[in-house]
Symmetry: C2
Subunit: 472 residues, 2 copies
């Protein structure tokens, strides 16, 4: 009995095994197809990735020519491998990142090489027994100190890699010197091969389809504002739409703003990279890159409000008809004009022109807000059930907040336009009311608001080099 | 005239120069004091930074002993520098990060060394002229492919460094092999010195005051929830406080939640590091680290609402007394109980116990919400000016949203407690109503809500190893 069950078991295992092996080609095929699809998608999402990969392959192949050609190899010998290493570790996706790493590596190697040579010389003075002890002490002190310096946020942001290489080179030069007397020759070879490797990486990175971190940052700023605009443009209609009524807009396009909420780290690293980049395209050297952080922060402030608004899109509480009738038009207008204003602001950033047409939408949106406030203030409601008006009132209030956020964004873009000397920046621009005017004291002066489209003296760009104080 | 003005100028320059030189010591002193203050603060903020720096110095000094002792040096020769290099680049702040880098580097070096050796052998078969061309082709293809693979988000998160080292080692071994016939010896030395360096780094990192990324992640999750709790605990009182009335709470402590808004990247990298760590302290190997991402996302959802609430703290619009009288008690209660619930949840995470006491606060907060809804629903207001109730209604509505967020957080913590087998997890826990019940359909069943404290069957932890499906 036992044996037959064992045989059955074996038979079961065997047939399962056979099935598994038979299904292997199919499953492998499915996996390969899935993998190919992923690779294709990755390449299609950003074709620059394929370019970058080919560029890295090319730069490494170029620099490994050192080994293949006798005359080149004779000069450097085994040190040629530092050139290959440098290309591999320095070559990054964007020009700014590559330049930053290259400069960090080059400068740190040079300084640490010199210091290591000095330490080696000092140690040899202390006799055969004292030398290793003194060297050990130097290495310990330097490594400890520089590792601590890496914790300073400003150092971490820009010079982290350089500090690492500083420790590395100092240790290599000073410690190797204990065994190898030709330490100066070694230091010299290390510095020059690293220069060659770094230069190869930087040249290939800049000359073949360059990817500028500055462009990416600029586009990110514009796209983030645009995503908020798309949400707000459709929010009003969606909020008041009855179920089953009319065409619903594609929900996915409304949710695009979610990526704005977590954009801070990406923005910060792009700013750090962009600051290493030379002038290119529309951007001059010392373009006010740091200003984009201000933008980003304001855009996120707005995105937090939009996220709160999003929570009311599918609210089950129905607004009573008399209240809906009172606020629907103004709310929809306010939201859609805000959306248009934000989209215009995004376009202005993309085109690098002052955002003049955005102001008119902003003014319209603020007029709608004022009308609404007037209605809410003067139409004393009777017999209303406060619970039923909760979502509508909340949405209205959040929209008022979004208006004040959008004003701040517009102000920051005007500032950028003047700092970076966008075209036509000297044109007149409608006066933007002071920050928070909408929100604060809204009930005191609700009757006296008059839309002012005065022309203040245009903001004059500074002479000479731009905004050196902001970017330095 | 010109000359005297020139002399005057010179004199001016000279006296200014003298002044500058005289003030130099003072200014230097001020700068040094400022710098020392910064260093002290950096060390005091997190004393583990000082430990880490000393540990790095120690590990490098240890590994450089290879050079000083004849018998050790004879075995490896110049390759000993790979050990020093490995320590410098592998030693990271937390154990998880160091282990991740060490394993990546070790494994990648081993695999790429083998592959490079194979490529070298294959190339030598093709004759003297064919060899460099074939080698160049191999290097180009491998570098291009692996660079592209680095763009896959999952590879980037865990194996980015390994892929970099893979390219590096492959190029070094295969290309150096063209000049140096002892390529096998070289590959072997490189692998073994890297193993020695990596082991030194890992051992020093683990054995001397280890910093566990898992602990940091766990504390971050708790602290973030606590920060939201602190805000909410005081929000109600602050919102209804009349200017000049009573003691104002320290504003800075209220604003602590702002750091939660941008915590995503830090959380993600800590999760990646923690997954490399072995079991330690309260955490077993395969602790459900990935679950913390769910937490984090829910905590941020809550933080976005809190950020919106924060905008109404200094609202200039005064709520009419009759409305304030109606909602103040319930709102304050709702907010402070929410704060207490969140603080209890944070404490439960910190202590790794099931958050049973949080549930009672959550129930109290929900009761307050129900009372408030009932009041808003039944007390039909007459002759009210809607504009004046905007902030109060918005705050109420946002607090309802925060309740539903907090419920989700509590649910996620219960899940974690069962996955990670917190103590007493089998204890009865009050039933948490389904998500969104508060918000959705709130006006339909406002009269029928009964606080249910039924005991559902306790969530049973899985047998054997924990949550392998979640973390693998």
């Amino acid at each position: 009995m036992e044996r037959s069950s064992g045989m059955q078991n074996n038979g079961g295992c065997f047939s399962r095994g056979c099935g598994w092996i038979k299904s292997l080609p199919e499953r492998s095929k499915a996996k390969i197809v899935e993998c190919a699809r992923k690779i294709k998608k990755l390449g299609q999402d950003d074709p620059r990735r394929v370019n970058h990969s080919v560029k890295v392959g090319l730069a490494i192949t170029l620099v490994s020519l050192f080994y293949y050609f006798e005359p080149l190899y004779d000069g450097f010998g085994d040190s040629a491998m530092w050139a290959v290493m440098t290309v591999v570790v320095v070559f990054e996706f964007s020009v700014g990142a590559t330049l930053g790493r290259g400069l960090n590596r080059g400068l740190a190697t040079f300084l640490a090489g010199a210091l290591g040579f000095g330490a080696h010389r000092l140690a040899t003075l202390s006799g055969e027994k004292g030398e290793p002890m003194l060297l050990g002490l130097f290495v310990f002190l330097l490594a400890t100190t520089v590792t601590f310096v890496r914790f300073f946020p400003r150092m971490k942001a820009r010079y982290d890699y350089g500090l690492l290489i500083f420790i590395l080179t100092f240790c290599l030069i000073s410690v190797s010197g204990y065994r190898d007397d030709e330490v100066l020759d070694m230091a010299h070879k290390r510095v020059s091969t690293i220069l060659i490797g770094g230069l190869t990486a930087v040249l290939v990175c800049i000359c073949i389809c360059p990817v500028w971190a500055g462009d990416d940052l600029h586009n990110l700023a514009a796209t983030n504002i645009e995503k908020l605009g798309i949400f707000l443009e459709h929010f009003g209609v969606e909020f008041f739409r009855k179920p089953g009524e009319g065409e619903s807009i594609n929900k996915a396009s409304l949710q695009g703003y979610k990526s704005v909420l977590n954009s801070k780290n990406m923005e910060e690293s792009l700013v750090n990279f962009a600051r290493w980049e030379p002038g290119h395209g529309q951007f001059k050297f010392r373009h006010p890159w740091k200003h984009y952080l201000k933008f980003g922060s304001l855009t996120r402030q707005c995105a937090y409000r939009v996220e709160a608004l999003n929570g009311y899109l599918n609210s089950d509480i129905k607004t009573p008809p008399e209240i809906q009738g009172m606020i629907q038009d103004s709310c929809t207008k306010m939201s859609s004009e805000l959306g248009k204003a934000l989209k215009e602001l995004a376009l202005a950033i993309k085109r690098m022109t002052p955002p003049s047409s955005a102001s008119s939408h902003l003014v319209k949106s603020k007029n709608a807000a004022k009308n609404l406030k007037f209605l809410l203030y003067s139409d004393l409601c009777s017999g209303i059930n406060l619970l039923e008006v909760v979502p509508a009132v909340t949405v209205t209030s959040l929209l008022f907040e979004v208006i004040s956020c959008t004003e701040k964004i517009a102000e920051a873009i005007h500032e950028l336009a003047s700092l970076a000397q966008f075209e036509n920046v000297e044109q007149e621009r409608p006066k933007l009311p002071e920050q928070g005017e909408m929100q604060q004291g809204a009930n005191m002066d609700v009757h006296h608001h008059v839309v002012t489209i005065d022309q203040p003296p245009p903001v004059k760009p500074q002479n000479g080099s731009l905004s050196s104080s902001t970017t330095s």
